[in-house]
């Protein structure tokens, strides 16, 4: 990218961007500090963002600590992912009214404000692309996902800090945002100047950019941004040797390592809740007391529950061994057969949020190293 194509925004310009999005009717969502974590929620101002915060992450460990500067995006990722908004945790699919021997079923048609995501990381862009493939790219289309997904405005951020459990570099999903955004920012923070190098991804992104104060980037700024990204790529907390994982796991479905992990796994399902690509759901009928109005709700589910694989008589996967194996082999192996790519984006959330710190990069390595010949 040469200097002519990239621009720089200052802090007030970034605020102006948020304002323009709001002015255009977007629901603006971004990271914010709450409940001792960085979560995604509605935001209005830069002050809503995690200014001056960073995170310390490891297996089963997450803490926020203060930075010694005022960086806005100086942390990795928290327990939330954008699937919270695109593939919502709980929605009503339809409602049915029982009247005079008739039943009328109505789908959900409520129009909602388009969404704007601020601060989307490269791994998250990949996760969104993966869920697009799963929920929109097959014979059937998931209508609620399509409704949410349409018209989302994405402001991506290139990571300046690699998290303790991050491994996007070895998964080839980051840290640089390459596609799927309207605008991509790299935060440049010196003692005297706080600004953002902006790469444009779409016509709409360019349009918004032109509406806020901006100037051309200098070569020095472009180089600085590249250096930041390179430094992030070199300081990943974890690593996954990714090229052969699918075949490795599929030929080791009976490996003793699964027993080893089953002894530790609580089958709590945290990993599935925080994973940005996990998409499993279940449905539940609900009805009023008289049974004249019933509805069907869809909510997130996890392959770790005993119910998940239940068929008359019992669960197909009742041992922790089989449920952990299902999750990990789906994520890293059978996902490839189903959707043409790995289901893992290397964000490390499953490692951080596992209460016992199970690490899929470690599990894959253990199987690789002890594979029976």
């Amino acid at each position: 990218m040469n200097a002519a194509q990239q621009v720089v925004l200052g802090l007030s310009a970034l605020q102006a961007l948020l304002d323009r999005l709001k002015g255009r009717g977007y629901r603006v969502l971004g990271p914010t500090v709450r409940d001792q974590a960085i979560l995604y929620d509605d935001i209005c101002a830069i002050s809503d963002l995690p200014v001056g915060w960073t995170d310390v992450q490891d297996g089963g460990h997450y803490r926020l600590t203060r930075r010694d500067d005022a960086a806005i995006f100086g942390y990795a990722v928290g327990p939330h992912s954008w699937k919270k908004f695109l593939h919502q945790p709980a929605i009503r699919l339809w409602s049915a009214k029982h009247e005079h021997e008739q039943i009328r079923v109505t789908g959900e048609t409520e129009a909602k404000a388009p969404l704007a995501f601020i601060g989307v990381r490269a791994c998250e862009l990949q996760a969104i692309a993966i869920q697009d493939k799963v929920l929109l790219g097959g014979t059937y289309v998931d209508a609620p996902y399509r409704t949410q997904r349409e018209g989302v405005f994405v402001v991506a951020v290139n990571c300046s800090v690699a998290g303790g459990t991050c491994f996007c570099a070895s998964m080839h999903t980051g840290p640089k945002a390459n596609a799927g955004f309207d605008l991509a920012l790299t935060e440049l923070l010196d003692s005297d100047d706080h600004r953002f190098l902006v790469e444009t991804g779409t016509e709409l992104g360019h349009e918004l950019l032109m509406e806020v104060p901006h100037r051309a980037a200098t070569q020095a700024e472009i180089d600085a941004a590249q250096a930041i990204i390179a430094r992030t790529a070199a300081s990943m907390g974890r690593k996954m040797q990714a090229d052969d994982v699918r075949d490795l796991l599929m030929r080791n479905l009976q490996h003793p390592r699964w027993d080893h992990v089953a002894e530790r796994c609580l089958t709590c399902g945290n990993c599935t809740m925080v994973c940005p690509t996990c998409f499993c759901t279940t449905v539940e009928e609900s009805s009023d007391l008289t049974g004249t109005e019933t509805s069907l709700w869809r909510r997130w589910d996890s392959c770790f529950t005993m119910d998940f694989s239940y068929i008359h008589g019992g669960s197909v996967r009742s041992s922790a061994h089989s449920r952990y194996r299902q999750w990990m082999t789906h994520k890293l192996a059978t996902w490839v057969d189903q959707f043409g790519s790995s289901g893992c984006v290397g964000c490390g959330r499953c490692i951080t949020w596992c209460p016992v710190g199970i690490d899929i990069t470690e599990e894959v390595q253990a199987i690789r190293e002890s594979e029976p010949q």
Binding site: L93, W94, A96, H98, Q102, I103, R104, V105, G107, L125, Q126, I128, A129, D132, K133, V134, L135, L136, G137, G138, T139, Y140, V141, A143, R146, R149, E150, H172, T173, A179, G180, F181, L253, Q254, F279, C280, T281, T282, V283, E284, E285, S287, G291, T294, L296, R298, D301, F308, S309, I311, H312, V316, R317, S322, Q326, A333, T334, D337, Q338, S341
Partner: protein
Amino acid sequence: MFMAQSPETLGVGVAADVMLPRIARVRGLRLDGPETWTLDVEDEGNAGSFVPGQFNMMTAFGVGEVPISFSGDPSNADCVTHTVRAVGHVSAALTRLEPGDVLGLRGPFGTGWPMAEMAGRDVVIIAGGLGLAPLRPVLYHLLAQRDRYGNVALLYGTRSPEDVLYHQELRSWGGRSDLEVDMTVDHATTTWHGHVGVVTTLVPHATFDPINAIALVCGPEIMMRFAIGALRDAGVADEAIYLSMERNMKCAVGFCGHCQFGPLFVCRDGPVFRYDRVRTLLGVKEL
């Protein structure tokens, strides 16, 4: 890596929302086995448009939804037929419906039995217990154009004589000279005078050319594995054997993730599978 795509450029998809049930009305019910009822349902405009082996998702409003295979005649343009055994809340609610009652339908979903592959070949149908229901549409189809097929044999095993489905029909089929019907039970009663023993023992006695035959198997998974073993012992190739798998289903369109069997979604890649495709998967415990 993976390119993000806008919703507009991805799969055309289906215009109507696939999760919305359409309203259908019960025309009649028949008790066809222990706690097992066959429902004839008026499904306006949709009857006669399924492939044997496919299933509908049936909604008992206020209770829930379950996948049930079509069990009736595919040429019947009047109504759709499903045989339901009351094993849980939803299935029990469906069996308690009365003529005129309303239920919800979504479908047809899934892959069907390979009807086109059967022409000119001997057909061996092995059913266990309730597994006869998804195979009955095949028999209707074969018998309607009987001269297109070679020997047709139905081998049916149940737990006991009381568990036999479609008594009347089996009796009349047994009387046909162009259909071989052999039945057995695992546990006999004092009034049973037929075969006693597992359904696999019927295979060596059935009439078919193993080189030319095509076999369809449906029943409990253990029974299917052993029946397939008997077919292979008789010389039938893996590529000529088809089975119908069953897994927990919540959506039937490959989104809820519940029905996964290795890399396969039983609702979408199945429920009918050619044996060579699932052979290795069937050998993995708790997959």
